[in-house]
Amino acid sequence: MTFPLWLIPALPLAGFIVNGLLGKKLGKSFVTAVGTGSVGLATAVAFARILPFLSGDHAPVVERIASWISAGGFSADIALRLDPLSALMTSFVTFVGFLIHVYSVGYMRHDETEAGYARYFAYLNLFMFAMLTLVLAQNFLLLFVGWEGVGLCSYLLIGYYYDRQYAADAGKKAFIVNRIGDFGFLLGMFGLFSLFDSLDFDRVFPAAAADPAKYAPYLTVVCLCLFLGAVGKSAQVPLYVWLPDAMAGPTPVSALIHAATMVTAGVYMVARCNVLFRLSPEAMGVVAVIGGVTAIFAGIIAVAQNDIKKVLAYSTVSQLGYMFLACGVGAYVAGMFHVMTHAFFKACLFLGSGSVIHAMGGEQDMRKMGGLKSKLPVTYRTFLIATLAIAGIPPLAGFFSKDAILAGVFEHQRYVLWGIALFTAGLTAFYMFRLVSLTFEGSFRGTPEQEHHLHESPRSMTAPLVILAALSVIGGWIGLPKVLGENADRFGAFLSPILLPLASAADVAEHGLSGGTEWLLMGVSVAAAAAGLLLARSWYVKQQGRPAEAIAASFPAAYRLVADKFRVDELYDALVVRPFDWLARMLWKVVDVLIIDGVLNAAAFLVELVGDLLRFLQTGNVRNYALTLFLGLVALMLFVIGAF
């Protein structure tokens, strides 16, 4: 039987409701069963739909659930879409999500109360619901529902440890910065509505593709607005500042939301709207530049960080920059390829770091770690595999996706960006191997109590690590470059239908690289990665970090700047937060208290004053009243007679 598509997001939603309402009364085992089971079932249903889809003709399937808005000429339905892009996203969102749910059981079980454990899984399930709604939506409005939903869950989960001030602050920061992006997204949707009278994918994209000349002039603005949403959600410059702070949440949350799924929603959206972006070379240019700048900027910051999760956070920001760079130059398939492979190895890295933190009893500072490879063998090996993948060492997954991006950038003749991307690739390898070296190699630098506590994680935590590591190895093999065979790029072939042909030559022409150039590029990227790897090993394993310390000592100001993440947060605080604070205070003290309250109080005072004056008319004396009557009569007579 064919399962309906709506079952996929509905199962986690049911899990949220059950665990949210009943979880804390029914015990941790119940919560575990419902929380992981709902996602597991959703994964099963998803694959039950996707696998036949893979072997079929890949024609999009639209399942309408209900009518939502029908007002005048505009209608928006609750409808889900299964096409190559949404199938791709759904497959790894559900699968990686399921693995992370399983991991969370081991990670959260012992330290949390019944209520906290239930709350965690409820929010995690809610997140899955929102994310799946986002990727399966058939129209922008439903996508936005999911978009907001994941933002909300991000806030709830980052602030999971709500009794810690910095965690609560981080949650708020994430939500507020996201809001700025959402504002852009809304404006983009308004623009789309005014241009196309519809928000449905099957109306907007074909219409735009069929008549580029009519829509192209307006699409630059619309695309930039939509991209603003992506900048917020996917943590690009300048709205990336929430992601490093978001590490305050539990590590599985960082893995799921801030590595594998939520932050990739922006890339998904840009890929989904590729028709619109391809009609606006200016917008694509902006996307590419921001992607490239973010990649290198975050990479530089990552080099100087000492908290293991912060390194991974900036690494995520940097890799997301790669994805946008790819989309920005027109290599949408490469961008989505990297989304998928990144989900595998970044989730593996975050979960691995969670394993390390768990073993270290909560310590996250790498300077206090070292030599853990003997105490946590499984964690070490999976972490190493994932690091090789992110560094871009063949034949692991990261190499193929990163190489696809670099080739795409070079192919579209954006040589400056290519240079930046290549340098960042080397940088990535360097700081990731710095991390591995500091954490796992050498000798232990922590306290004796911590050393005593070191132990490998339970099976519920290591099993997902192994699976993700395996995927990090083989995940790239479905998208091999053309030089290895004409039909080697099965991934590209699968995704190509989402790139609707445009009616004019407005599309960025495919150039095509010669075989020789491709091999050369591959060699160069591997060389950069290898260079970074070897440099890191040399500095941190053989020489125990002394060269790095020497450089830091010789350029103390520069080092401080990088370690303080270029003080961007402080800049925003001075430029944005303080003025807003001042404005709010002004509106309160002056406008609200002085003016508005003042006016009201004055009005009341005036009424009282008039009353105080008028009451002297009430003399209680009948004669006075009679006089008043008579005076009135006289006045009336005068008026009537016209003496006035």
Partner: protein
Amino acid sequence: MARLVFDAAAALTILFAAVMVVHRHPVKSVLALVVSFFGLAVCYVMLSAPFIAAIQVIVYAGAILVLFLFVLMLLNVGEETREREPWPFQRIFSGVALVVFAGMLLGLLRAHGSAIATPRAALTGEIAPLARLLFSRYLLPFEALSVLLLAALVGAFVLAQRENRP
């Protein structure tokens, strides 16, 4: 000739009304008013309303003012004392307004006095037509009037009771 009589009677009426207003002793005021009402009755006769004149004497002068006298005697109301007004403005404003009022009336009369038409038919002083009118067209008000008198009777009775409740 008739006019002279009327004017004299009217003057008498007004004079004694003024006397009533001025006098301090209440009984003397009432008696002055009685005279004034008699003068008014003469005016009515001059205006072809002998029945009303009779009613005026019998009811107004003879019943209402006598009632006033009864009450005055009953309560042994004394002379009004000469006191200073707590608020002089009452007197001042009243005086001004009265002057203005009188002036307006005079002015009106002078300005439009010529607009009064001559009567179409002279009235006779017979009572029968009056009675006929009263009991045909004005029957309802007449009956209502009796109800009103009943209500007044009951009201007066209740209001004037002594408060002797056990």
